[in-house]
């Protein structure tokens, strides 16, 4: 996260490859389910043996024996509706919820976040020198109205995307944050309104940042967990 600061986002998980290296983020929506983005995974049938999620720690690479750290193998990947670019990861066992690990709420179906709502992104990705890259960083971004964003992007905005407004000081997601949450506070609960998607540039000051609009796919998320 560029322009963020160390913070607490207990639903943000680190996805680790077989070498134990962080490569993408995700959000814990149920004890055994994480939502992330398709871009991070080789295929919808990928054999993820040896891949894990790490939760409960603010550190990107905690020292062995960190009492709060949970590492849980990934059992399976399920790809979302084709245009969604979402994936769900089933964990080999449920995460233990505590002060450091919590579930993020899913939005109501097709819910539209009001423009101006201030939301948070979180991740262990690149900070471009703006913060400590060894810990979880959090940054706040205001949601932009769909029409206004579409105009700024000259009509290229898709319905399944959600925008946050560009800030004068560069603030935004960067490499390593992909798949992580855009969490917005609604009715006193943090809700997964967006998923961070890869972009060509980090924290642009002249253009809105795009996220996958989760509310359009929340029925699919529930169906996958149910079935």
């Amino acid at each position: 996260v560029v322009g963020g600061q160390p913070g607490n986002s207990p639903w943000t998980v680190s996805i680790r490859n077989r070498a134990g290296a962080h490569f993408c983020g995700g959000s814990l929506v149920r004890e055994q389910w994480v939502v992330s983005t398709r871009q991070c995974f080789a295929s919808c049938d990928a054999d993820l043996a040896g891949y894990e999620v790490q939760l409960g720690t603010l550190f990107k690479d905690p020292r062995p024996g960190d009492p709060d750290q949970q590492s849980i193998p990934i059992l399976r990947i399920v790809c979302g509706p084709s245009e969604s670019q979402l994936v769900m990861l089933k964990l080999a066992r449920p995460a233990t919820l505590n002060a450091r690990v919590a579930l993020i709420c899913l939005p109501p179906e097709r819910y539209v976040v009001p423009a101006g709502t201030v939301c948070e992104i979180a991740g262990w990705g690149e900070t471009r020198g703006t913060a400590d890259g060894s810990v979880l960083n959090v940054a706040r971004l205001p949601v932009m109205a769909h029409e206004e964003c579409n105009a700024a992007l000259r009509g290229r905005l898709r319905e399944g995307e959600l925008c946050t407004a560009p800030l004068h000081a560069g603030v935004g997601a960067c490499e390593g944050d992909y798949g992580g949450p855009l969490a917005c506070l609604t009715a006193d609960c943090w809700v997964l309104e967006g998923v961070i998607t890869p972009s060509r540039v980090c924290a642009r000051t002249d253009q809105p940042a795009l996220f996958i609009r989760v509310s359009l796919y929340v029925d699919w998320v529930h169906k996958v967990m149910r079935m």
Partner: protein, 482 residues
């Protein structure tokens, strides 16, 4: 420090059964290494089962190449078979070869060793010398390897031409796909089994890398090294390269892409050369600011040109070393993935085609179009019966491989015929089905909507929303974190 298991080849979750069935072989308790030691010391023993749960082992006088046996899946058993009975290549002069090759290098059939016609000879079978049937053997340590007497009266004996293991299977590129049976380094040290952590501990657990072929103690290249290698049984030398012949044939062309990448992007040959945060990539032929082993000349198939994002080591996606000393590598996830190439059964989806009148939203007649759907596709009555990944749909009335929550009985109005894609629960993402893949309970079908439709709803008032058991955090930790 060598393990007695090094003489054995393991098949996980497999049992070897005689046909017809015989009374079970008595079992003894012990870890697999102890079973291996017992089997190695026993002349008739050629293989053993090891039950991982109960730690019981059964020594067996046959292998999968013996007559009247069959392999059967058994999740409790691992089957270990002596390598010398399974290999179709030789080590050294091949005196230990116990395979089943029974023709010579010129195609002549071998004479059984117990026979003395057409050629009389002195190499008669005994329990110890391995002269079985008419299989090629090397009882006199012939330098040309295993041989046999032939059934041709004019040719007394001939070499069988069995290749050295180093030459039997060649490798392409850097040998990532090598699955041959060389199990020594080029300096002659025996390899450590990948499934053991001694004498060297290592991260390459075979179950973590199912696609890397980390079988037994064979040379492999799971990490994008220059060529296949192994950990050694010498505590003083952690790992060593293996000598394996390079194939003369050109390797098959990768699925090359330039504007996007597929899978892990090993075939990406585009020109993106900067990380998403704007750091230029380091040239592959440079060793500064980061020293590395991915020298272009040593990776001829990887196209390590200039400073372009590439994936020479099977990582998640194309990547590069960066020009910033503090950031060694960065994934190039900002290169987009190529769209999945999926189409409906028969014809490709064509949203712009003419639509039968019955398909119009609100029409009373059922929609019979099979090439696209209206609305959510709840009135779709076409015959597409495969998912977007091409998996065959499970019949709606079937109970396997998935026990359905929705069936013709629960949704009699939904026209759940055969295994055709339908949308009985008004899923907003279109027709779907249960699938015949046990790992995929349901998936959407390869049918597209006939028209794009607006999906966004007006903003709900915040007080109309309620959540349970989620979205709460200890705000004090936030401050503490800072």
């Amino acid at each position: 420090h060598r393990s007695p298991l090094n003489d054995f080849q393991r098949l996980r979750a497999t049992e070897l059964l005689p046909v017809p069935a015989e009374p079970p072989v008595p079992a003894e308790r012990g870890p697999a290494e102890l079973c291996a030691r017992r089997c190695a010391a026993s002349l008739p023993c050629r293989a053993f089962h090891h039950d991982r749960q109960s730690q019981l082992c059964q020594l067996l006088p046959w292998t999968q190449h013996s007559p009247h046996v069959r392999l059967q899946r058994n999740i409790h058993y691992d089957l270990y078979q002596k390598k010398e009975f399974l290999r179709d290549c030789i080590v050294g002069d091949g005196t230990s070869y116990r395979g089943t090759r029974d023709t010579t290098e010129r195609g002549l059939r071998c004479q059984p060793w117990r026979a003395t016609t057409p050629h009389d000879h002195r190499f008669l079978p005994s329990p110890r010398n391995g002269l079985e049937e008419n299989f090629c053997r090397n009882p006199d340590r012939d330098k040309r390897g295993p041989w046999c007497y032939t059934v041709d009266p004019n040719t007394r004996h001939q070499s069988c031409g069995i290749k050295q293991c180093e030459d039997a299977v060649c490798m392409t590129c850097n040998g990532e796909d090598y699955r041959g049976s060389v199990d020594h380094t080029e300096s002659g040290i025996e390899c450590q089994r990948w499934d053991l952590q001694h004498p060297h501990t290592h991260p390459y657990h075979p179950h973590k890398y199912p696609d890397k072929g980390l079988d037994d103690n064979y040379c492999r290249n799971p990490d994008g090294s220059e060529r296949p290698w192994c950990y050694t049984t010498d505590p003083g030398q952690e790992r060593g390269y293996c000598r394996i012949r390079l194939c003369k044939k050109r390797p098959r062309a990768l699925n090359v892409t330039t504007g996007c990448f597929r899978g892990k992007g090993e075939g990406y040959r585009g020109r993106v050369n900067v990380t998403v945060s704007g750091i230029p990539c380091q040239r592959w032929d440079a060793q500064a600011p980061h020293q590395h082993l991915f020298v272009p000349e040593k990776y001829p198939c990887k196209d390590l040109r200039e400073n372009y994002c590439r994936n020479p080591d099977g990582s998640e996606a194309p990547w590069c070393f960066t020009a910033r000393p503090t950031v060694r590598v960065a994934f190039c996830f900002h290169i987009r993935r190529c769209p999945d190439e999926l189409g409906a059964e028969g014809e490709p989806p064509a949203p712009t085609r003419g639509v039968p009148a019955g398909c119009q939203p609100g029409a009373s007649a059922p929609c019979l179009a099979s090439d696209c759907y209206h609305g959510h596709g709840e009135r779709y009555r076409g015959h597409v019966s495969k998912t977007r990944k091409g998996i065959t749909c499970q019949p709606w009335a079937a109970q396997a491989p998935h026990v359905p929550q929705i069936s013709p009985a629960t949704h009699p109005e939904a026209h759940l015929e055969e295994n055709y894609c339908r949308n009985p629960d008004n899923d907003s993402h279109g027709p779907w089905c249960y699938t015949m893949d046990p790992r995929t309970p349901f998936d959407y079908c390869a049918i597209k909507p006939c028209l794009a439709r607006p999906q966004l709803a007006p903003t709900l008032p915040a007080d109309a929303v309620a959540f349970e058991r989620c979205g709460q955090r200890d705000e004090r930790l936030q401050l503490k974190g800072r």
